[in-house]
């Protein structure tokens, strides 16, 4: 909820043009909830982004696009364990779904 407020504040201050959201959530379900929140709006209609359609590009930290852009050593030290333990494919699929949804709109 606090993150929603922070994202809204950042958008209010800097606009959406140069802004991207990188998620670190541990499963497809929560990744989907957060991806929906920063694209279509808070599905729970309870936070600062309820009814606010930001349409921000959103990625999960384990998606190939992010991995390729990251410093390999930092990725190894900080998130490689997540890559082993989490269902990267399911998470990526869920986040991509919302990315594609905003592209279509």
């Amino acid at each position: 909820m606090e993150d929603q407020g922070l994202i809204k504040k950042t958008v209010d201050e800097h606009g959406t043009e140069d802004l991207m959201v990188v998620l670190g959530t541990p499963d497809a379900e929560s990744a989907g909830i957060f991806a929906e929140t920063v694209t279509i709006g808070d599905p729970a209609f309870s936070g600062p982004l309820a009814g606010v359609q930001l349409g921000l590009p959103v990625y999960h930290v384990l998606e190939p696009e992010v991995k390729e852009a990251a410093d390999p050593q930092v990725f190894e030290d900080e998130v490689s364990l997540m890559e082993i333990s989490l269902d990267v494919e399911a998470i990526s699929k869920e986040v991509r779904r919302f990315r594609e949804k905003i592209k279509q709109e």
Binding site: E29, S30, A44, E78, L81, M82, S85
Partner: protein, 480 residues
């Protein structure tokens, strides 16, 4: 003489559906939505449903944690039948009994019940094994309904039982924001549940109250006034209420990681010979009632965060019987370390094991943050213990000791399902301590690793994380 031992642990619950509206989240949301209070009230569980809820029966010690994996989910729709309210480690208290203890804990005449409610509470408490005659006396006779209404008109917070107004709690000071009725209700709830956990502990172990020299409170609430916010000493207040007359105490704060810090401090004070017996206590987090209610209401579930919880542990000098805390394998998250989950778990699990010539598989069970997933998943917070176990297993994958396809099996063997209410520090690893001690004493296990983490950023003072771990191991000097 070897490392200090764990002589016992207790876990209690207090069913508090009428206090859910005073949890932090409901208190903020109710004014925004005129229909919300009614929605909350119509989604509350009764005492039997809370008592028979499978994770609660595990928390109290009547079922083993792993049994939850075999039970059909959702657990709230597949409750056990006629479960006892008392378990091996403690019991679940109905709300009216909790209200009684709350009044007994109040030394400043803050809580007032009507005469009718007072009699009802007295009758409910009178046969309880923990009640002393002076406790029943301190309930008083109660106030007239007019007097209660008068207090409420002056700003006192209403107290309800099964939806009926039964009394109120008054502010502790005319101007002090730290002593308002809602904060004092939170603080008295911590004192009360902490006391109930300490008494349940002492009821179940063979150690005299007068032998306890020190109490460490690791609960999250900080008590205090305008000049020293959070600086008070709940440990000593709980020790006094629990009749630990030869004891003093102090509070240790580190958010959800406080139980780990407190355990290591307690064991170290004993190992250094300062004290022989120390009680660790953690009372409830009233602010967390209804914390994830929106996820529950959206999914047509009952409000799952309707219980307050408390825990207590007795640490003692080596008795050559009970399992010991290995003070040479403490894991800690240092300032220089990154705050990613990987960095934290490396500091708490991988490094201390490696430094002591142990592998991931030399630990029989890992007790991490044991939040009940049925509470957290619908609110988008994920299955916390499941994620932790997969991460711990991933170290073995990285070291070439395990195949990635074997992570599920690893979780089943070395982990457990979450069964603790989401009461912050309460869920942090210690709920398994009673089981671990028992299994090690029976020879079913050799060692358990307990690990906790703390979100220090919440206080806006630092962005670093926190974490600590310790190993509980069979007694190396055991004569049995």
């Amino acid at each position: 003489m070897g490392y200090p031992v764990v002589q016992g642990a207790s876990y209690i619950l207090a069913h508090a559906p009428d206090l859910v509206q005073y949890g932090s989240k409901p208190r903020r949301e109710i004014p925004k939505d005129p229909e919300l209070l009614e929605k909350i009230q119509s989604s509350l569980r009764d005492f039997t449903a809370a008592k028979d809820y499978p994770p609660h029966q595990v928390f109290l010690g009547n079922r083993e944690p792993e049994e939850l994996w075999e039970m059909e989910q959702p657990w709230y729709e597949n409750a056990l039948q006629n479960s006892p309210r008392k378990g091996k480690w403690g019991e679940i208290f109905p709300e009216e009994e909790f209200y009684g203890w709350l009044k007994i804990a109040d030394q400043f005449d803050l809580i007032h019940y009507t005469k009718e409610a007072t009699e009802k509470i007295r009758a409910a408490l009178s046969d309880h094994s923990l009640v002393e005659p002076e406790d029943l006396e301190s309930l008083g006779e109660g106030d007239s309904e007019d007097q209660i209404k008068n207090f409420i008109s002056q700003g006192a917070l209403e107290l309800y039982l099964k939806g009926d107004l039964i009394g109120c709690i008054r502010d502790g000071h005319d101007e002090d924001k730290n002593l308002t009725a809602d904060i004092l209700l939170e603080n008295l709830s911590v004192k009360t549940t902490g006391f109930l956990a300490v008494k349940s502990l002492l009821e179940n172990i063979d150690q005299k109250e007068e032998d306890i020299a020190f109490v460490i409170n690791c609960g999250e609430e900080g008590v205090g006034d305008r000049y020293q916010r959070g600086a008070g000493n709940l440990a000593k207040a709980i020790a006094e209420m629990g009749g630990l007359e030869n004891s003093t105490g102090a509070d240790v704060k580190a958010f959800c990681n406080a139980p780990m810090h407190a355990s290591v401090i307690a064991a170290s004070l004993i190992d250094s010979g300062v004290f022989d017996h120390i009680v660790l206590v953690g009372g409830a987090s009233m602010a967390k009632l209804g914390m994830k209610m929106q996820g529950h209401l959206e999914n047509d579930m009952p409000i799952m965060e309707d219980v307050l919880a408390g825990t207590a542990v007795l640490f003692s000098k080596d008795d050559q019987v009970n399992p010991q805390i290995r003070l040479d394998t403490i894991g800690k998250h240092d300032v220089k370390m990154a705050s990613s989950q990987q960095a934290i778990l490396s500091a708490l699990v991988d490094k201390p094991l490696q430094n002591n010539g142990l592998t991931i598989f030399d630990v029989d069970k890992y007790s991490s943050e044991l939040h009940n997933p049925e509470i957290t998943v619908p609110a988008g917070s994920g299955n916390v213990p499941h994620n932790n176990y997969r991460l711990i297993g991933s170290f073995a994958v990285k070291h070439g000791l395990l195949d990635v396809d074997e992570l599920d099996e690893f979780e089943k063997k070395y982990g457990m399902p979450g069964f603790s209410p989401t009461q912050g520090h309460i869920a942090s690893a210690l709920p398994f301590l009673g089981f671990a001690r028992e299994r090690i004493l029976k020879g079913e296990m050799t060692r358990t690793l307990f690990l906790g983490k703390g979100s220090l950023f919440l206080a806006k003072m630092t962005k670093t994380s926190d974490g600590m771990s310790f190993i509980l191991e069979e007694n190396s000097n055991s004569t049995q």
